[in-house]
Symmetry: C2
Subunit: 168 residues, 2 copies
């Protein structure tokens, strides 16, 4: 099981855009050059962030991408969902209801008055994954930015200058 590398790219792009002044847009080409990434594929990830309402895009010669909402309103979960989609990693295909096992469960469900007996495996797997999602949803890009600015006080200025320079 592997998360798309687009998640790492999207998280770093959100952070980079946060250092750019409000109203200033950055192109996918420029963001891609900053991280030495393929521009067309990075653009695809940025479009996914646009669809999720995390980033907005403006057309034209001074167009590009900018954050669509405050950093404290963008959680790690928002970005992961935008890139990976909303579905859970564990997908129950209900194999217990297939084959002869299905007849045994049907008999148990009839004995229990016809109510559906939930699958204990799917429930346990989902509970574990929910804990992960809650952890991701409890952290915002603003939290990450605070850590970075504490560790590398000049990095924001450096990134802003590079991304907003007119020639490069």
């Amino acid at each position: 099981m592997k998360m798309s590398e687009g998640v790492e790219w999207a998280l770093h792009c959100c952070l980079s855009l946060s250092w750019v002044d409000a109203g200033e847009a950055v192109t996918a080409t420029k963001l891609a050059a900053f991280y030495d990434l393929p521009a067309a594929y990075l653009n695809k990830q940025l479009q996914a962030l646009v669809r999720a309402g995390i980033v907005s895009s403006a057309p034209g010669p001074r167009g590009g991408f900018q954050l669509a909402r405050g950093l404290e309103e963008i959680t790690l979960m928002d970005v992961v969902s935008a890139i990976e989609g909303p579905r859970s990693a564990f997908r129950c295909t209900d194999i217990r209801h297939r084959g002869p096992g299905g007849a045994f469960i049907a008999a148990s469900e009839t004995s229990a008055g016809g109510s559906r007996i939930p699958c204990a495996i799917a429930q346990a797997m989902r509970a574990a994954e929910l804990g992960w999602r809650k952890h991701l949803a409890a952290q915002t890009i603003a939290d990450i930015k605070t850590v970075i600015e504490d560790r590398s006080p000049n990095s924001g200025d450096d990134i802003r200058h590079w991304l907003t320079a007119r020639s490069s």
Copy 2:
């Protein structure tokens, strides 16, 4: 991001094998028939469980698979790792060190006395995933079995009879 369906299959197979008497082996063909799954592909998942020391396999006409250790010693994490491998879902490719951004970080690291500045994004993503793994590691197949036997008291007997019947 999607977990292989082999995880669901492997978890159900561990449970099914737990209802079979000690010393009695069940073939991949029989387990596949019970859940209406493709036998060759299920066999591949069972072999992964063998490599992880969760299940053992015996050759010969009365051979097959059986649990290699107690249910209370098989966690959900053990099974997920056996099927999906040990690597984390989020894989940091360290894009912050690529391109011009890499030079800014190098400068910050030099200012900080040469020590490596960890990536706050990778740290946050790993911390969230660690929570998930701990949750999976805290639950055993024995816990799941208790829930199932409480909900469907006869299911264990039904499954044992079907899996160990000589003809079918």
